[in-house]
Amino acid sequence: MTVETPVRPVPTTRAYRFELVKLFATWRIRLLVLACWLAPAVFVAAVSQQSSLPVDTLFGRWMNATGWAGPLVMLGFAGTYALPLLTSVVAGDVFAAEDRLGTWRHLLVAVRSARRIFAAKALASLTVILLLVAGMAVSSTAGGLLAVGDKALVGFDGHLLTPGDAAAKVLLAWVSVLAPTLALAGIGLLGSVLWGRSPMGLLLPAVVALAMALAQLLPLPVAVRLALPSYAFVAWNGLFTDPGQLGPLLIGVGVGLAWAVAATALAYLLFVRRDFTNAAHDGSRRRALAVLPLAALFAATAGVIAVATPALGSGIGQDTLQQSVATAFAHLYRLQTGQLHRPDVTEEQLAATAACTKGDGLVEPEGPGNDWRCVVTWHLPGVAATGSAVYQLDVTSDGRYVADGDGPKEVNGYFQVRTPDGDQPNPLWQFDANVELLSATPKG
């Protein structure tokens, strides 16, 4: 008499290796790996050598000054375009491919466990995504360092980071965007499970990322903005201020990870309940139900952030903007002083302050807009007169702004400064900085 034993499924590690073999057998994945490990280096090296730099991209204006700006420019580009598309192609197709090839039944017979198939597919797609992200980070860093060199980086508030400090923060920035990348990967897995061979499943992470990027452009309350799983794609720039703006970044990372877990868990639950013998299965009812938990997660996250932080308004207030502009100006003034070989001066000695108005003082000084105007004043040691300079600011709803010097031209006009690394534009002419959204005092 034989003893009945349950059919023993294939170990997850074997199923994982099987999934990796299948993924790396496709030209699409091979080309992506090649592109992610080579193209960023070529792009960063080529752009860094040009006189016209991508000043619209964060740290783009510093690309020919330090090799550490390149990976940050690439990170900005990756968060907007590359990472959503990569997660679409990898995670968004990992289940759909079996539908397209008609191999589900074969796979189930071979592995004998839907749970282990899910685990193997999720881990394999995660592995490939991490490989691609690592490729972009390493490649763009290598391109920048080889083309420009290991030099100090001007931070997001104008303070100077040593090469070692810049390296650590560049690494941290890339690590922090793994959270929203994983959230998109989870959404990709969910789309792939829900839509099967339909292109909609493949496109879901890219569509969601696009929708969230558009939402970031809208004047939404900070709590809503921070509850979006893609916020860490924006918030990593807080690592490059002194002191670091870590609150929004930590919230963004936490929200991203929560979405990654929720979307993956949802995909898992739907997958293990799928009836693979029912040819009539189309999952349309499940698609409708799948939206509800994620909508609930978004609402709950926004609620918690709204209660726990001063995040009900736009987060862009007059006081915080004035403080940010004054800080950045003082740091960059010190940098300019050094470049022009003038006597060194500290930020404390400068005691810079800023007075900002919006819409020529005709509108309430709050929120994003390109009608902000700030007058910065400062003192020089041993000089009785107070210096002042005017800036026009274009503040976007995510708190980032570009300050454009509006005189006097000797201070913040356009002129080239001769530095040991070549001619550079006057650092006070135009600069990027941001307002820490969570430090604003809510109105009302």
Binding site: P6, F18, K22, L101, G102, R105, T277
Partner: protein, 304 residues
């Protein structure tokens, strides 16, 4: 103590929503036999094969493989339904090697590729394979596991005559070595060539299960083509023979008569033709006994 049946199904019912795919199905398969599953589209063949492969669980009934309920059997069942699952970016050998590593099987991909006649294209990507080659590779993938029960859905689909002969040879050898094979097909000639027993399904129910010989005996009034040296004389003999009826004449050949009769009446007709000096040049069923039975049992409104 008798060896357990390779497959024992009792009262198997499986529904998909409101659709009853299988409705109280009973059938047995003896070890080492090749058993055919026949039925019109939607009869439940693929669902039944899927249950044997543990792809789904029956809503009601008992299904055992070698005496152990399906799903608790310690392996030994392999095969495919709805075509073999293969990865087009991999070569034939890579497909099998990956599957062997996945399942922890020791069988060498080269050996099974040789067995199914694909050794020459072992290192070609499956993307370029014909349907017949994919079928054979699917069979090779199942053979990797050295199964005791092989479950195949339309294995001869897309095979050319040489490929079909090759696959039949493989299945015959497997059965001779003790492997049980359950296969579905719409090709009656394949089933007659391979199977000693068949189960006919119609709308989720078993309308016949047992040996082919029994099926022929139960449904032996068949249509036959009769070619003789003198069709006019043959028609006169036919008219005075009891239990035999002429059907519409064969299209395009006036010398061929089509008659419907049971075996004893057919014997009598041949005797009388010979007595009257009419030479019988051809006497063959218009359709095979299995196909005739299939049509009789599965046509809408047929008595079962």
């Amino acid at each position: 103590m008798d060896a357990p049946l390779a497959v024992r199904a009792r009262g198997i019912t499986k529904c998909f929503g409101d659709v009853v795919a299988l409705d109280g199905v009973d059938f047995d398969v003896a070890p080492g036999h090749i058993h055919g599953l026949v039925g019109p589209n939607g009869a439940g063949k693929t669902t039944l094969l899927g249950l044997l492969l543990s792809l789904a669980v029956a809503d009601e009934g008992e299904l055992a493989v070698f005496g152990t309920p399906v799903g608790r059997a310690p392996g030994g069942v392999a095969g495919f339904v709805d075509g073999p699952g293969l990865y087009p970016s991999l070569t034939a050998r890579q497909n099998l090697a990956a599957l062997a590593r996945l399942g922890g099987h020791s069988a060498a991909p080269g050996d099974v590729l040789e067995e199914v006649g694909l050794a020459d294209v072992a290192d070609d990507r499956v993307r370029g394979f014909s349907l017949g080659m994919r079928q054979r590779l699917g069979l090779a993938a199942a053979l990797l596991t050295e199964p005791r029960l092989l479950v195949l859905d339309e294995p001869a689909n897309g095979l050319d005559p040489a490929g079909k002969k090759h696959v039949h040879g493989v299945l015959d050898r497997l059965a001779a070595a003790g492997t049980t094979v359950v296969l579905s097909s719409h090709r009656m000639d394949d089933l007659e060539a391979l199977c000693a027993e068949v189960t006919i399904l119609a709308t989720g129910r078993v309308v016949f299960t047992g040996p082919l010989a029994k099926l022929s005996a139960e449904h032996d009034e068949l249509a036959y083509r009769l070619r003789t040296s003198d069709p006019v004389a043959a028609r006169r003999v036919l008219a005075r023979t009891r239990g035999i009826a002429e059907e519409k004449a064969s299209r395009g050949d006036p010398e061929v008569l089509v008659v419907r009769a049971k075996t004893p009446a057919l014997d009598e007709l041949v005797r009388r033709l010979v007595q009257d000096g009419v030479a019988v040049r051809e006497l063959a069923p218009v359709v095979s006994p299995l196909e005739a039975a299939f049509l009789a049992l599965t046509e809408p409104g047929s008595t079962r």
